[in-house]
Symmetry: C2
Subunit: 477 residues, 2 copies
């Protein structure tokens, strides 16, 4: 709907690049007349649908999808003291219906514990009802006072996947925490987005949780982005909302709970990890268009070329690929630019010479050129797309390797956080964390660090010299 | 999660039956602590997913899905005078973010014209951008002061599918109105829900529309339920939001628009049309479970029976059916009750005798019993399910035939609206409509009536005797 032109900012200017690519590739329109609210273009929505399709299929193995109301009465939201304290500054309040004031103010859910757990109070009766694993994908709201940014810091989080589970014992809930982390790892592996998992410091855990495990990625500018969290809630909420069950001996017990969430930040990570100076680069698993067929009709034999292009597209479409044929009246170069911007993993060019040779010319979004015989088109395209997926995973891991450094001194840490994260020994004391944070202007993000390419470290605390274990230090979005 | 027991109210007590079946079949939980807000149980959500999957697949032929913000600033909502007048009594207002009052109040969308059209103002530039056909499926809100009812009259409409199209001419937009009606007909045919299409009287059209075409069904108690509307917006909104395009001669023109919506009332209609005294009856196209396999393990050969049941389920699952095997430690009768309540179209019983005969015993939700050879299980099940679908369509049409009557006198009309709708000649004057409405305590719902089983009528207006054409008269939800 827009005429785009000119080059993108270099990716080194990450913020400029990110803002440009979002509208040039028609992911989000930022011109909606309320700060922090954005519009998903159809192309962006198609990408979102594929990404959330993967998330759903992973969850659906042993979770059930449901849907709870957006509006939470103040009386419910205020029940868990820590929880409301954590959210009261950023809740949107509905105070009027029509021209009348409401008797009880209604919050737009910032997260749904207080909408779901009054129902769990009714639903959970016996140990036979457990474990209960339910998720929903909904819009939720935060009155952000910080700088907002599409997909990353929004006032309407349009795509909040939140799972809420109930268990008979603290240990069962802990196993669920581990299962959720494994699931999130699978999800991000499918997006070829590399992650670091760590346990947030106590002062940074979810309001009302026993502890919080976070999934972070490292953005191109070296800052971390939290793209998933898993909370062990213990019995904080079950005591508040009276979620009890009769155990096998016939005694009433408080349930143990977990919850875990992923938002459209997953898509911000996907875009940021892979994109380049020409626009989006999308893994075939989620690309709305996996293959674009461009007929090269310069000169004669136009009808023949168009027919061949349609035939190629038809063959691939029947084989299950998401394919577009671009027959617009534009120069091939303009079409290449257009589809590269939208991250299409594979372009197939069909010209007179290709027809004569019984082939198509294949150019991947990563710039690799080859030919594929028409006689084995679908398997040939499958192989090339698998190659793109593998190359993106490799690039992601390489990014992690070069941006996460295991270090042991303040100086090394200070250098590391300039373009990524540091993994350093830390004794676990708040005082030392404060010292680290002030000294290098970065945060102690977590402990019990799990990162494929950065092994855990032990050693003297980088601040006080007492025995320490691996902590993740970085500057976060 | 709940232990259900006892018989449902008779369907003749429609309101009682409806409320009971919704929670017994685990469609919606009405116990959420805010009036007019309800919770989708996982089973209900699975039904919703299938229903909206059909709607999406129909729309995706020539529409694109997108997503616009929930919150509409008061300044935008107030722009179209008729529109705001139509909605101001029932808009929820967000007035505070955290503890601070907002500078501009934000409405929870009652419908999204005022969220979408400021973007269309930016997106539509040239005749080449038209037609533009976009839809979204979102939650929307009405501060209903009337009696609320799950799926039918809600304060949070959780599943509002709204399409918004833009065209170069009034006639193009009118063709889109017709296309939308055809699409809605296809959708409801897939649900085996019979519909009547009519043009709403001028005083009942959508605020800001040129005219409104409505899709109604007749509920078991004879009252009509509006389950879809299509609005020709003309240039009312394009003038307000300045949606213009350059035509082929290079001149700026105001665009012509339509919008059309369907909500979870579609599911209310589905449930109400087909359900019976044992619970839901679901068409195979949308049933979350199409086939339940019940092993009959009374007596010996238990392991063999369980293995055979699993094999039957596996075969059907591989063939693409949605299948469950019920191996719970319950009497077969309790299992039958459970799955009948949930509307499963087909139950397969597998017992020792079936194994010996190389067959399964098939019982449809409509009570028809047969046997299917194991050697042709999948095609056999397909045939039986097709039969259920056909029978439900037939039952739907029969319901329409017996509840929509073409009549010509006040007396006949008065009798007809006691258990359905009347189609009567009406001259088109408001005065006569008022007379009709007062006399029979029912509404003139529309003109230009299209109903498969009730042909249009012409004749003297039932009120004044002047020449009239078919009008739909009924009592609506």
């Amino acid at each position: 709907m827009e005429v785009e032109q000119g080059a993108l900012p270099q990716k080194e200017d990450f913020s400029g690049w990110y803002n440009e690519v979002l509208w040039r590739a028609e992911i989000m329109d930022v011109r909606y007349p309320v700060k922090g609210l954005y519009v998903w273009y159809p192309f962006g929505f198609a990408l979102r649908k594929n990404v959330y399709g993967i998330l759903r299929s992973l969850l659906d193995h042993d979770h059930e999808e449901a849907l709870f109301p957006l509006l939470i009465p103040e009386t419910e939201l205020a029940k868990e003291a820590e929880h409301i304290k954590g959210f009261e500054e950023e809740v949107y309040w509905v105070t009027h219906g029509g021209t009348s004031p409401l008797e009880v103010k209604l919050a737009l859910r910032p997260t749904s514990e207080c909408a779901i757990y009054p129902m769990y109070h009714l639903w959970v009766r016996s140990h036979a009802d457990l474990p209960l694993r339910i998720y929903q994908i909904v819009n939720s709201f935060r009155y952000e006072t910080k700088h907002t940014r599409p997909l990353i810091r929004l006032r309407e989080i349009t795509s909040f996947k939140e799972a809420h589970t109930v268990h008979a014992s603290w240990e069962d809930a802990e196993r669920q925490v581990q299962a959720a982390i494994a699931l999130y790892r699978q999800f991000y592996a499918a997006l070829a987005v590399p992650v670091i998992v760590s346990k947030r410091p106590d002062w940074d855990k979810f309001p009302g949780a026993d502890y919080t495990i976070a999934v972070d990625t490292i953005m191109p500018d070296g800052r971390t982005l939290q793209i998933g969290t898993v909370h062990h809630l213990g019995d904080h909420f079950s005591k508040t909302f009276s979620i009890t069950f009769e155990d096998e001996r016939g005694e009433q017990q408080y349930a143990q709970q977990t919850c875990y969430g992923i938002s459209e930040r997953s898509i911000a990570a996907l875009i940021s990890t892979h994109g380049d100076g020409k626009g989006l680069v999308l893994p075939p698993s989620v690309a709305p268009v996996q293959v674009v067929v461009v007929p090269i009709t310069i000169g004669k034999r136009k009808e023949e070329v168009l027919a061949a292009a349609e035939e190629v597209a038809g063959t691939l479409s029947s084989a299950g690929f998401r394919v577009k044929t671009d027959t617009r009246d534009l120069r091939p170069g303009a079409k290449y630019y257009y589809w590269e911007m939208r991250g299409v993993p594979l372009r197939l060019e069909v010209g007179p010479r290709d027809i004569d040779a019984g082939q198509v010319t294949a150019v991947t979004r990563l710039g690799e050129k080859s030919t594929i015989p028409r006689s084995s088109l679908a398997p040939g395209v499958g192989t090339v797309l698998d190659g793109v997926a593998a190359a993106l995973s490799e690039r992601g891991e390489e990014h992690m390797r070069t941006h996460a450094r295991v270090v042991t001194t303040i100086e090394e840490m200070s250098a590391a956080v300039e373009h990524g994260v540091a993994i350093v020994p830390w004794c676990g004391e708040r005082e030392c964390a404060d010292f680290i944070e002030e000294t290098v202007n970065a945060s102690v993000l977590g402990t019990e660090v799990q990162a494929a390419c950065a092994p855990p470290c032990e050693g003297p605390c980088v601040a006080c010299g007492k025995p320490g274990t691996a902590a993740l230090v970085g500057r976060s979005y």
